[in-house]
Symmetry: C2
DNA sequence: GCGTCGACTTAACATACTTGAAATCGCGTC
DNA sequence: GACGCGATTTCAAGTATGTTAAGTCGACGC
């Protein structure tokens, strides 16, 4: 259906992401590309690709688009617990549990690959570097989750939003989605609020403050970090928890 | 050094904990007990058994005592990101990463088993039920971490503390540390504050409120949940995220 | 071209929670 | 038995953040 060339392009973010954790072998890359090609899927913005309570059937690998993991309280309060970016995979091993404890919703149109449990186990068994990279990614997700707990629990609004922006910047770097400190930023202020545990109004106030300080430009779904060092400073940000090998 | 009987008792919480996730085979239990016996360690209250920045050398399994995982900001603010209870293991697979991104500190005197990387890999390879149970536990830890994010981000103080108490209650049940709704509760109000993202003063106020409502009795390091149903209700608590098979 | 709708923005007000400080209590030490 | 110390408790005052509401802007449909 698609020419091989296109498939290669689609898998680029995933390969770059995993390579930043563990050097993938050629064999691993080939297996991965095949698995991706076999399970291509799309979702529209606003759609949930998995919902809380669903049985866990397999693994999803994001090729393009942004999503978020979130949980909702009975009375409607929502908390986004993580963003899922191109190259990320969802629940590389949550398939050990039987039921999803959270939902994953698309913030933009999304392309992803869905890999059934059996195929995924074959993938893991097929190449050690690939298996390790995927486990690794799961571990990094845990580390991110811990840092979010710290962020929401102990940072004030300004630091908190600054920290989130720093994290997203750092995570988008290895998959090649940052150009000149700018990136597409499809997150609404309401999403930002639900991700930081703040109200929309206060998120807005705080973004104004960051703009006023000349640290960021955020306009037309595009984020530019004008002064990364200072932004990281005000966020008390250190990239260590992302466990990403730096290029070079 | 110790009679086999005593070792069996030491490993009880671990076995019960893992059994609640995956039925362990006899072989798995035997391997586990041997590994535990080989790596017995102690720590005093207040001591860190692992610190942020340390190389990740192996895995620790808690036999008795309470600990917490925590991170500290440059200026001293501290956030506890999880409690570690008897039967829990620390970083069953974080050993895929090279450096700890958080510390683990003992809140009470602690007995634990330290298993080197090689021995641990042999353990995983030696019994499938054991390996699955340990991976499973790691996944549950991620789920707990997500729920903490929700808790701190979207619940008010009263709900937040109630939720934490419900979670601890639920986690202590399968390891047999709840008697008549009561348990040892060695956490200071300051720890509680650092775990919930609140100030000590407000934690105190909120505990008074829970006491006043007749939901809990907390005195002399002992917590009694007087009205579990109502406590869970005010916490908007559902145990689903703990993925624990219920007895019976 | 007008109306609708979602996202963003701003203002005024309310409050949940923090900060700082001091009193009390229990507990182990000298 | 006096002292010191950590944990708990209470008070008073301050502030970061939430809430409610209303207005703007751009995109999109008819």
């Amino acid at each position: 259906m698609h020419p091989p060339m296109l498939e290669g392009n689609l898998a680029q973010p995933v390969i770059r992401r995993l390579n930043a954790l563990r050097q993938l072998s050629d064999r691993g890359i080939a297996l991965l590309q095949q698995a991706i090609q076999d399970g291509l899927q799309r979702a529209r913005a606003g759609e949930d690709i998995v919902s809380e309570g669903d049985p866990v059937d397999g693994v999803r690998i994001i090729l393009s688009g942004w999503l978020c993991r979130y949980k909702t309280l009975e009375d409607g309060r929502r908390q986004i617990v993580n963003f899922v970016l191109p190259g990320d995979s969802c629940d590389a091993c949550v398939y050990l549990l039987s039921v999803m404890d959270h939902s994953i919703g698309a913030l933009t149109p999304v392309t992803y690959a869905e890999i059934e449990r059996a195929a995924f186990e074959k993938l893991l068994a097929g190449d050690r570097s690939l298996a390790e990279a995927l486990w690794c990614e799961t571990m990094v997700n845990s580390a991110i989750q811990r840092e979010w707990t710290v962020n929401i629990g102990r940072r004030i609004a300004l630091e908190r939003i600054a920290h989130l922006l720093c994290e997203l910047h750092e995570r988008l770097l290895p998959v090649g989605m940052i150009e000149d400190g700018s990136c597409l930023f499809p997150i609404t202020q309401m999403d930002l609020a639900d991700a930081t545990g703040l109200s929309v109004v206060h998120v807005n106030r705080t973004l104004q403050e960051l703009r006023g300080a000349g640290l960021i430009v955020l306009r037309d779904r595009t984020l530019t970090i004008t002064d990364l060092k200072v932004l990281q400073g005000t966020a008390l940000f250190s990239a260590d928890y992302l466990h990403t090998k730096r290029r070079g």
